[in-house]
């Protein structure tokens, strides 16, 4: 939180309204005013004006500034949220995205008038293909889950084009919750397989479930325990031998840039979360971007258009590349503003720099892991990749749970790690420090974690009642779900 602790309730903006105030100005109308006449039939016109607030500009600025102070971003402090890759969001990305030549252009303009934008997209397609080891990339999906669905729809179309109606998607029990949900929306069924005691894919279990009905295996590598699936080549072989395809969930790609590539591991389809690996901001829950890369045999099924370059060197929107396209998955050309930030990021680092990013992310994670492991349970203590998972079950002896530890961390000025995930770890604490954090930050965070573990022993109530320093204390979620109040009902 910021230095001055906001403690007052922040009024809703509608509660600040005073009729007669305004925060807007428009150009004077220089054409005839027909808005009060028969421009539309009476029954189509609005009877009662929407109850929007009437405030002046200072109210607007102070209101949203006050709200921002009741929020916490990477700019405020360490944010070790596992599987979310909360790395620094560079300021230059924000500036570039706001250049008029990028922010104020329309997707339906003549291609000759958006060559610079198309060049960015073309270069980004190629860069992401190189990073993932894929042959072609669509930039259309707006998020990771959106990319998963897009990829699965392509896999389904691929099988159908061969006259096969394969319906099963295999996921390990460590998979992100979106994997099975995306399979359902793509009209496929999920089979979950148990991991080995080491936290990896159990090849025997896999062999038991694969068959002529296998559409795909969905895998995150490194997986959500932060462990590299060492047997990935064998896994790929097992799936490919029965005619299935491999889908790579790129949520954890921050561990592998320039080190290993999904395409070389045997994956056929990959999505990347640009809002994770490529530093584009999470924005409080979006917008993100979830481009999908594919091997050559899946190119005919890509959503269209993609950006191609002709013999003259001009860029153009190309639908011809995918004659059996699954169709569009989003309006226009994807989240261009986010794609632009990702491209800016790639150019900030270049080829060696991106490898350095992954190396330092992995070093930071292993260091923090070794510092914390003696103080918590570490069910999978070996070299991790970009993240690691601890268990808080030791604390349960004093009645303190992982949730309480997370809430107490707020008082120490940290955003807590991801908790209770993956589902196979009891009282799981999933920590991803990222490469943009210094050793001092990691040491201070570790000290806070260790101090809280001690507090749990010495004074459990202190931890159980946390947080104390936030604008609100623990909130009644049951009340919110039982008696939903989902808007201010200002107009009624």
């Amino acid at each position: 939180m910021s230095n001055q602790q906001p403690i007052k309730n922040q009024a809703l903006i509608t509660e600040l309204s005073h009729p007669g105030r305004k925060a807007y100005e428009l150009s004077a109308c220089d054409v005839p005013d027909i808005s009060e006449t028969q421009w539309a039939p009476a029954e189509a016109k609005r009877q009662v004006a929407a109850a929007l607030p009437e405030v002046y500009e200072v109210d607007v600025v102070r209101h949203y500034t006050a709200l921002s102070r009741r929020n916490f971003g990477i700019d405020n402090g360490f944010y070790p949220l596992g599987s979310c890759t909360m790395k620094y969001n560079p300021k230059i990305n924000e500036d570039v995205a706001r250049f008029a030549g990028f922010a104020k252009i329309h997707p339906y303009q003549p291609e000759s008038s958006i060559q610079g934008a198309l060049e960015v997209l073309y270069n980004l397609q190629n860069d992401l293909a190189s990073i993932t080891g894929m042959d072609q990339v669509t930039l259309q999906p707006a998020a990771g889950a959106h990319g998963e669905w897009t990829g699965l729809m392509m896999i389904r179309a691929y099988h159908e084009s061969r006259g096969e109606h394969r319906t099963q998607v295999i996921c390990p029990d460590t998979a992100h919750g979106t994997n099975p949900a995306s399979a359902t929306v793509a009209g496929l069924d999920t089979i979950t397989i148990k991991s080995t005691p080491d936290g990896l894919v159990d090849l025997d279990e896999l062999r038991k479930v694969v068959g002529p009905n296998t559409a795909a295996l969905m895998l995150t590598n490194p997986n959500t325990l932060g462990l590299f699936e060492q047997q990935i080549e064998e896994i790929a072989k097992v799936v490919h031998e029965v005619g299935g395809l491999l889908y790579y969930d790129g949520a954890n790609a921050n561990a592998i840039m320039g080190i290993t590539r999904p395409g070389d591991m045997g994956f056929d389809v990959v999505h990347l979360n640009l809002h994770k690996t490529m530093s584009t901001p999470h924005g409080g829950g979006g917008p993100g971007a979830g481009p999908v890369g594919v091997k050559a045999r899946l190119i005919p099924f890509l959503p269209t258009p993609i950006v191609s370059k002709n013999a003259k060197g001009d860029f153009f929107l190309d639908a011809s590349i995918a004659p059996q396209t699954i169709g569009r998955v989003k309006g226009f050309l994807g989240n261009f503003g986010i794609l632009l930030r990702a491209y800016t990021y790639i150019r900030t680092y270049g080829p060696e720099g991106l490898r350095n990013v992954s190396e330092q992310a992995v070093l930071n994670a292993n260091y923090l892991f070794r510092v914390l492991a003696p103080h918590f349970d570490a069910p999978f203590l070996r070299h991790c990749k970009h993240e690691f998972v601890l268990s808080g079950k030791k604390l349960k002896a004093s009645g303190v749970r992982t949730l309480d530890l997370a809430k107490r961390l707020l008082d120490y000025g940290y955003h807590p790690p991801t908790i209770y995930f993956p589902l196979i770890v009891e009282e799981g604490i999933m920590i991803e420090p990222t490469e943009t954090e210094s050793k001092e930050t990691l040491d201070q965070f570790a000290a806070a974690m260790i101090a809280i573990a001690q507090e749990a022993v010495d004074d459990p109530q202190l931890v159980l009642n946390a947080p104390y320093t936030t604008p609100v204390q623990r909130l009644d979620e049951t009340l919110a779900a039982r008696k939903p109040v989902l808007n201010c009902a200002c107009g009624s």
């Binding site: 990028f102 060049e119 309006g331 707020l410 109040v485 989902l486």
Partner: protein, 452 residues
Amino acid sequence: MNEHRYLPMTDQDRASMLATIGVESIEDLFSDIPETIRYRERLNVGEKLSEPDLLRYMRKLAAKNADTDRFASFLGAGMYDHHLPVVINHMLLRGEFFTAYTPYQAELSQGELQAIFEFQSYICELTGMQVANASMYDGATALAEAAALAYGATKRTEIIVSHAVHPEAREVLRTTAKGLGLTVVEIPVQADGQTSLHALEQRINQNTAAVLVQSPNFYGIIEPLQAFSDAAHAVGALSVVSANPMSLALLEAPGKLGADLCVGDCQPFGIPVSLGGPSCGYFSATEALMRKIPGRIVGQTVDKSGRRGFVLTLQAREQHIRREKATSNICSNQALMALAASIYLSTMGKEGLRDVAKLNINKAHYAASLVQKSSRMSLKYAASFFNEFVVELPESIDIDGLNEVLLKTGIIGGYNLGKTDASLNRHMLIAVTETRTKEEIDGFFARLEELL
């Protein structure tokens, strides 16, 4: 020294951290990756550029594009050139907002949660619906999710959609329908530009899950929503309306015209066009459908001391709990763009939103009056419109060629409808927002006259 300005690790840090771990080198941490799949080449990505060089390079690329700071645009078709009040950007650039994750830790995210609660409130106000979610990827995906909801709620498998719904939204709908095993049936547009109610009545049946119409529709025409809702309800189907939310300042709320779901895109509310994204879909519903809505929803509650607070709620619907049984796979929204839309609506307020909508109507209708005076052009449709209309151009005109010529005089012309609909060759969809001056409008149509 580290070569990169975002990376803090010094040689000394590295040595001391490796010692703690008990390995010799960073390479040792990757020893579990089989050598057969190690990547030993140099990534084939763009070279590193220093901050000043990168700015110069990106400026050069940006300068190749024709932007609306330099060109007068008459292009809409789902993305509109509106004035962006300057306060929006200043607020969006608060790092507390844009560098935050989804507000799972509610105590630390009250600002975001309250902003979304206010966004939901605004959407309900404008649409006349009882519940709205925290936003969707865009208007097109919001419409497809509405169809998916209708399937889940009615267990029926046929979706009827007007041909006057945005063509890209119809494409996304078809992709989504394929995944879910739904059939999509299109109903045509009649001579005045409205969707044919007659065709709907012919086609609708007991297996119809939903009727999807857009108003103003893709051709700018205002649809008689109550009639479509009545037809849907007569067979127990849901009435789904996609609406440009700015038009709702002056047009009746779909919730008052029988809509069960009202969706759309908030781009007109303070979000730059940015080649079509990111924008922000909105999704609103009747209270009866509250627990079937996809995506995130923020609710008001109290903390231990009784203080008002906000949380993500009704999460039993969502993928991280329900996994394969979830109602949708969506686990994010477009929070920052929803924030932009909220700040826009707070800034414009009750009067401002009406004023800007009126300006759109006045400018567009003035432009249409110039078409009516022309001997070379005519208005294609007679029904009422908001800020966009279809112009029929003379035989043998090549609209793409025409737009190239217009560009040379600083004008971005309208959308060539022939691109997505062969029956509308030589028809241009023209949007005229409040940002166009009379002089620009006069100049555009004078130039068109010359060129036709």
